[in-house]
């Protein structure tokens, strides 16, 4: 169910975003990634503040069309891996490559561009803007792309239809059920036609049946993308082609 939109793709400078669309290599590659929270040398950091190691030498590849599950208890480093793939954080050591480009070498602006064009994010708590309709939420990433309003609306409406919300287009998030909100969030993540989809506990706020529907949708839309799903729920991880198990920031099973 990929809805390609070539108008979203633009030429870009090599130093500001991922440009290598290597069809043969992994879509995502983490090599010897280590990350410590509180390890930055902030001027106002308390002396008593201790650095917390979130990831320890993690090396993982994710291929196109593959659904990778990240399994582990709270604090095991699942979300940190997703945030590193999305360029929302730069690990303390190691490299994170997206479509062949090392995100750790990019500026904040470059990582933002890469995220916008190549990575879609789905959060546990949806994080939709409550002030906007479902359609406007889905169209949000397209604002940055600079698509005209009519094109944004058209694409958002199409995506909402694809996730089964054609009759909820103008509804506010507060007027939608949890499952519907997550569907809107998935549609939003797909709006720029990303190559990679990351989902952090996508069913964490949903009941079992609704969660199953959302998982079906995720695997459906991720057919020709690299999908990384973090969860500690066995049912959620059951949809994954491969599961990597984490404990205290280290991979204990399923590496590479």
């Amino acid at each position: 169910m990929r809805i390609p939109n070539r108008s979203l793709r633009r030429s870009s400078s090599a130093d500001t975003e991922a440009t290598v669309d290597d069809e043969t290599g992994p879509a995502v590659r983490l090599e010897n990634v280590r990350h410590e929270y509180g390890s930055t040398t902030g001027r106002f950091r308390s002396r008593s503040e201790q650095a917390v190691t979130a990831l320890r030498d993690v090396s993982v590849d994710v291929k196109r069309g593959e659904v990778l599950g990240l399994e582990g208890p709270s604090g095991s480093g699942k979300s940190t891996i997703l945030h590193a793939i999305a360029g929302l954080l730069v690990p303390t050591d190691g490299t994170v490559s997206v479509l062949g480009t090392d995100l750790t070498e990019l500026s904040d602006r470059g990582r933002t561009r890469t995220r916008r064009r190549h990575v879609g994010i789905v959060f546990q708590r949806f994080h939709l803007l409550q002030s906007l309709s479902a359609r406007a939420n889905v169209a949000l990433p397209l604002v940055q792309v600079g698509l005209p309003k009519s094109a944004r609306r058209e694409r958002a409406t199409t995506l909402l239809s694809e996730v089964g919300l054609e009759d909820r287009v103008t509804h506010l998030p507060s007027e939608l059920s949890g499952g519907e909100r997550q569907r809107v969030a998935i549609a939003r993540a797909l709006s720029t036609d990303p190559d990679i989809l990351v989902a952090d506990e996508p069913t964490g706020e949903l009941d079992t049946d609704t969660g199953a529907d959302v998982l079906e949708l995720l695997t459906d839309v991720g057919r020709d993308r690299a999908v990384i799903v973090a969860s500690h729920d066995a049912a959620t991880l059951a949809v994954a082609d491969r599961v990597v198990t984490l404990r205290d920031g280290a991979v204990i099973e399923g590496e590479r």
Binding site: R113, R115, F123, R125, Q130, L140, Q144, A189
Partner: protein, 423 residues
């Protein structure tokens, strides 16, 4: 040629994309404003207060500077003849023009002058009881006029012949006085009452004056309480009828004459005096009031700086309240510029609304405060709000509000991190 066309095409597409992005940003900003009406109303109210603080404080600053100038402007005289130093605040100590009536007569004899009159200022003792007198300023003038805007009673007018006779004999004429309203209140004096005025406590019982009215006209001019009496009467009280001393001799240019040119001619004729046209005299008086000028400018400066600081705080707060939304926008790939744009657009809207509310409320509040000021200290129109003050207030609200909101949004883009999303 093809390259040029391609470049233009790329530029046009880029412009279109920027326009589309801007419209999207504005849409999000409006949605955020609508989403939290209470926060929006409070923010608009806060901006209105900022604008009011700027316009009212600046009005006070302008009023403080202008109030002294009003005396000269209200006197409505084209030409001012004086001798430095002239310090109205030290009235009575400086009456450097001797033979004032002779100078006045000479001026009136000129074809390019339609009229002339002297003004004297003295520090006097004044009271309803000759045993309980207070020190105040008295201004001697040939007559009062409509500009006095009497709060009670009326004024006085001395016939020219009677004035000359009184000057010759060193006697007062009508012995009438227009009291400052605050002085009248303190003395519990009203039109028809008798007060004593003299330059020494000992001679006070000799000079009884009848209160004919109350007006703050010369008080506004001098910046302190002052009462007006006929010029011959003041000179008689001061014992200077013989030398006929005055602080100023004022004159009006004849119809069709250029006051500046007439002032220059008179200056040539009287090299021992300083002759200035009205505007120059206002400037000269203002220069001699550095404290007043400094106070006025300080108030204006404080108003602007205070307004900017308040605006910065307000929009930093508005941006901080939307930190989670901004973090979500950042996470889905929106740039810091777009985040700054959404907060900046909110700043523009809130700034415009707050600016309009603040400006609309300014005249009403200034009028109300002026009424209080009249009641308390007797100064009329202490707060003055020229167009420039409204412009400064509105610019502060709209422009500074937008810029500050943009900066706040830009900074918020930095601290709106994934950690703020919770999960």
């Amino acid at each position: 040629m093809i390259r040029r066309v391609a470049a233009r095409l790329r530029a046009a597409i880029g412009l279109r994309r920027r326009g589309a992005r801007a419209s999207g940003v504005v849409g999000v900003a409006f949605a955020q404003i609508r989403r939290a009406p209470r926060r929006t109303v409070l923010a608009v109210f806060a901006v209105a207060l900022v604008v009011l603080s700027v316009t009212l404080l600046a009005s006070l600053g302008v009023g403080v500077v202008a109030i002294g100038e009003d005396g000269l402007e209200n006197a409505n005289r084209d030409i001012w003849l004086s001798s430095d130093p002239i310090d109205p605040a030290a009235s009575g100590t400086e009456n450097p023009i001797g033979g004032a009536h002779e100078v006045t007569a000479d001026l009136e004899a000129r074809e390019d002058v339609s009229s002339a009159s002297p003004i004297a200022m003295y520090e006097v003792y004044l009271g309803t009881d000759p045993e309980a007198l207070e020190r105040t300023s008295a201004v001697g003038v040939p007559q009062t006029h409509s500009g006095f805007d009497f709060q009670a009673g009326g004024g006085f007018e001395i016939e020219e012949e009677a004035a000359e006779e009184a000057m010759t004999e060193g006697e007062p004429t009508t012995e009438e006085v227009v009291l400052d309203p605050a002085t009248a209140d303190r003395l519990d004096a009203s039109p028809g009452d008798t007060v004593y005025i003299a330059t020494s406590r000992q001679s006070a019982p000799e000079y009884e004056f009848t209160v004919v009215g109350t007006s703050g006209y010369y008080s506004q001019y001098l910046g302190s309480e002052a009462s007006a009496v006929p010029l011959p009467d003041l000179l008689a009280v001061a014992g200077t009828s013989g030398t006929d001393r005055s602080t100023f001799v004022t004159a009006d240019a004849a119809p069709g004459e250029d006051p500046q040119a007439v002032a220059a001619d008179i200056d040539d004729a009287y090299p021992e005096y300083d002759v200035r046209a009205s505007d120059e005299q206002i400037g000269a008086m203002a220069e001699k009031r550095p404290l007043v000028l400094a106070s006025g400018l300080t108030l204006v400066g404080l108003a602007v700086v205070g307004g900017v600081v308040l605006t910065v705080n307000l929009f930093a707060l508005v941006a901080s309240q939307q930190r989670e939304e901004l973090a979500a926008l950042r996470a889905i790939g929106l740039s810091r510029w777009v985040l700054a744009g959404t907060i900046g657009a909110q700043g523009l809207v809130i700034g415009l609304l707050g600016g309009i509310v603040g400006l609309l409320a300014t005249p009403a509040l200034a009028t109300g405060l002026n009424r209080v000021v009249i009641e308390v200290i007797g100064f009329e129109r202490l707060l003055r709000t020229p167009l420039e003050v409204y412009v400064v207030g509105f610019v502060l609200a709209a422009l500074v509000g937008t810029i500050v909101a943009l900066v706040a949004g830009w900074r918020a883009g930095r601290y709106a991190r994934i950690e703020h999303l919770g999960a």
